[in-house]
Subunit: 415 residues, 2 copies
């Protein structure tokens, strides 16, 4: 399958771009080649890498708008957990489909997922065509099947049956929900199978206190001690870090995921960008779940990511539009170990076309600035992932069916 | 002219709504009345008050994306001022039209404006159909005609020639750019003519320092001393306030405009909501100019407004989605002294229809939460201002013409 994109703006210049199978195969002027699909940019669309959401719990879209503006404790204990306990694989499947509709509309092509019933999620992801790293969640409460035994079982069952767009990872939930023994198991299993290890880390002060009390040491130091840390580690939130902990994370080449909206909405804290920038720590971006954001729009997240750091340090120069754009593209690709996040020959064809005629893109003086600060998601017109067109001129195949089904099935609040 | 809106969701229930001339005249079930225009809600659209942007410099859309991520001083002195000096009334006219396109698309029906060449702005606003309070700017540098003499001249010329949707106001720029004598003149003129007084106030620490040095007193105390304060005062930013200053503002029933994105982007400071909430101070919302935001999307601004206060106070309960929705609707109407911001019989027909079938509105559990946190602007489908339809199903009459003209005229960066 070949897709030829004509007269597209790439890095400020008009180019043609050819996709063959799942890769970008040619970039240049006047490519007059045969292709099964043709997209006309007419110099009025720009191409950017598909965005990469490095931390989310997609099916939590089902719980969006339920219990906002609460403390984390009340939100979890009174609102979220009682509902999560009752979720079925069928609901997870439809929730994932809804969430992926929203991701595609907002120009996300890859995401790193952590939630219950990964098999149901994977079915939905396959059908929607996005690229994903799906976490097999481990928590000690064995909530909805999240045991290490079950993770291992699913892993063995699926590992040779997945499309190249979907990778499994291990997701021990957090230090306060997974025992030392199980963390060590996860680390060893990930090492043996060469898997990414994703985990919530130091999201709240309470979490650090818990660790200090239980293990007499801070979270990152504890993880170092048990040999958990490495290049395959992707730590979500990572807010309450000391200088010493940051040095340990750097030494071990870990990736961190900044989740500004969720961190602000739940008043968890501010990701320590000022202390981390310039170090050999790979910083990615995530929306967190749509119940604590409440959106899956990474463009909006880039804006909030930049604004929060500027005000927090009282320094408008501390972070730039380019910095946050890198977090949501190449840094995400690096963390998830995929050849994407950049538009170059040989890279994966995970692309987003942006309509420069949208009012948010006026004037077209600085594309990255407009995408980050002016509302880039409104200009997303076409989305391609792994060489397949997922959205064309704002239309996604099957969108209405998913919504209709979801409304009936989930008894959504329509009158 | 009558517009009948059928089966629209209003406060969670299906209703019909009749607009006669510029007012909401009937709300109820099964209104079968004659009307020149009919809009079918089919129970799949909700109606909310048109949003009110209480502080912006619309034509700064022309400078969007030029010089982000700089300090306020560098941004103003090296980027913005050299370009502003060269602006012509024709550019202001087209800039205003572009900005108003963006406002309508994002569900704003009323805005409070402060920029150069108000006559050019007013022409554009009349043609676009929004409601506006237009400031006649006064600065001591007599920049681009912003003298008190000129303000007075324009006022006398226009005061009886404006449509009911446009009001003039006085806009002495700030304490550090307008002399005491001119501030007193503005205050007296506004009193005599019953005008709103809009002014930047305590946006930065430097501004407070300047006032302390020049007048040996803090900004609000200084304004009280010269008799400036009253119900007609609308103060933009209002960040660096002491407890004593807040009490003075409360005593004088002033309105304040919170501009979170701009305050974060320029690292000016955090609006002191925690100290102000619950007092008799009317808090409104504004985007500030699109060169320091860089968007005119009040839905996005509501989200950022809530998130910033939560993280700043480390308390997720300090502000709710409803609080920020009120800022952007009824509080704005109160400050601008217009009968809008609520959907009730007898109120102005300034309405926004929201498409509940958009993915951002799923599930429809809590409409205000979805509008604020999930990306409400993407669901705006129809906009009505003063009983006239400005946007229908996403389409604004003349949009293409404005863009084409603007691109040619302004030599926008299209290849």
């Amino acid at each position: 399958m070949r897709i030829l994109i004509k007269e597209i703006i790439l890095n400020g210049k008009k180019s043609d771009l050819l996709i063959e199978d799942n890769l970008i195969s040619k970039i240049g002027k006047n490519l007059n080649l045969k292709a099964e699909e043709k997209i006309e940019g007419k110099g009025k669309k720009a191409v950017i890498p598909g965005l990469i959401n490095c931390h989310t719990h997609s099916p939590m879209i089902l719980l969006r708008g339920i219990g906002d503006d609460l403390s984390l404790k009340d939100w979890l204990e009174k609102v979220i957990w009682p509902r999560e306990e009752k979720l079925t694989p069928d609901e997870i499947y439809w929730g994932t489909k809804l969430a992926l509709l929203e991701m595609i509309k907002n120009g996300t092509t890859t995401f790193c997922e952590m939630y219950f019933y990964p098999e149901a999620e994977i079915e939905a992801i396959k059908e929607m065509g996005l690229r994903a790293v799906v976490g097999l969640v481990i928590v000690d409460l064995s909530l909805l099947g999240c045991t290490k035994e079950n993770a291992q079982k699913i892993y063995q069952k699926l590992k040779n049956k997945l499309p190249p767009t979907i990778k499994l990872s291990l997701a021990p939930h957090a230090i306060y929900t997974v025992s030392k023994e199980n963390l060590i198991w996860a680390k060893n299993f990930a090492k043996k199978e060469k898997l990414i290890l994703q985990m919530h880390l130091s999201e709240t002060k309470e979490e650090v206190k818990y660790c200090l009390k239980k293990y007499k040491t801070r979270p990152v130091e504890f993880l170092e001690k048990i040999g958990f840390l490495g290049k395959n580690c992707l730590f979500d939130h990572s807010i309450w870090l000391t200088e010493k902990e940051i040095k340990i994370l750097e030494k071990n080449r870990c990736s961190l995921v900044y989740n500004p909206s969720s961190n602000m909405k739940l008043a968890s804290g501010v990701f320590p960008w000022e202390k981390i920038k310039g170090r050999k720590i790979n910083v990615c971006l995530g929306t967190d779940g749509p119940a604590s954001n409440n959106s899956l729009d990474l463009f909006s997240e880039m804006k909030i990511a930049a604004l929060l750091q500027k005000i927090n340090s009282m320094n408008p120069k501390v972070i730039s539009a380019k910095d946050v754009f890198s977090m949501a593209t190449r840094n995400g690709a690096k963390a998830l170990k995929i050849e994407a996040g950049e538009i170059k020959v040989g890279k994966l064809a995970d692309l987003v076309l942006v309509d420069l005629e949208k009012i948010e893109m006026f004037p077209n003086e600085n594309l990255i600035s407009n995408l980050v600060y002016a509302g880039g998601s409104k200009a997303v017109s076409d989305v391609i992932c792994n060489g397949k067109i997922l959205m064309r001129e704002g239309k996604i195949e099957g969108e209405e069916k998913i919504k209709t089904k979801a409304k009936r099935f989930l008894n959504y609040g329509f009158n």
